[in-house]
Amino acid sequence: MAHRFPSEEWTAAFKDAVNDNAAYRKAGAAWTHGAVAMVIAADPALGLEEPVGMILDVHGGQCRGAEYVRGMDAVAGVPFVIVAPRARWREVIEGKLDPIKGMMEGKLKLTVGHLPTMIRYVESSRQLVVSAANVPTEFVE
């Protein structure tokens, strides 16, 4: 069954997909730098009156928890926050946009976080995206 993106159901399925991804377990094995939030920017035209996001508690190659949240206040204190419009996240999830290349193009913005660490774990980021691509996803326009 496809899960609507973004939603609590999609977030829960994403967590399972990350934990099912052996390549992520390997690439993220040394990650001890804290949670990562993927935030979808507000877009009233799409029915998103405020930003929504997914906070992934990733550690040592595992996703220990995933929380679907509303508003930027909810991601305050998260060590890494990446923000993009929903259309960009769709491109990422569909494998059409590499997340790091997206940052280099300004399509995704690392608004909080230590960029050298993010670059050091570039393969880990890519495997999170591969995991996302494995979630049956419904995009409602």
Partner: protein
């Protein structure tokens, strides 16, 4: 030693790659006194052309100061033409600990060599400005 300064020149704010490199340099300098010492010796202009992003920028180093410009500004001492993937790989090149030079035994260093052989990375002005290129590599490195 003066405080390191990394700034975006007016007009370069919309160049995402310039902003990203500025952040990378700032955070690397915050983390490492060794990089601050390297940065203090850097002088010259480095142009970076991201061939797949249709983006270019210029880094102007003036011993402890870096200003990033959108596009190619002035006459660069060194020009790096590379895909965005290869530009990223430059930061991941392993450095040997003694002199901080690229370590050809490293996986990413070997990947860069292969990319150079395939034309994915071209560095113009490398040999006349080898110290600047080596310092740039050390400054950008994240391992």
């Amino acid at each position: 030693m003066t405080q390191p300064s990394v700034t975006l020149a007016p007009g370069s704010e919309d160049n995402a790659l310039a902003g990203m490199l500025a952040t990378l340099v700032r955070q690397n300098l915050d983390d490492s006194a060794e990089k601050v010492a390297v940065f203090a010796k850097m002088w010259g202009r480095v142009a970076i052309v991201a061939t797949d992003l249709d983006t270019s920028l210029t880094l102007r180093f003036e011993r402890g100061t870096l200003r990033l410009f959108d596009g190619i500004v002035g006459i660069p001492d060194v020009t790096v033409r590379a895909t965005s993937e290869a530009i990223l790989q430059l930061s991941l090149v392993e450095l040997e600990p003694r002199f901080g030079l690229p370590d050809p035994r490293g996986e990413n260093a070997r990947r860069m060599i292969r990319a150079s052989l395939h034309g994915e990375v071209q560095v113009f002005g490398l040999f006349p400005h080898l110290p600047l290129v080596l310092r740039l590599t050390r400054l950008m490195a994240v391992p």
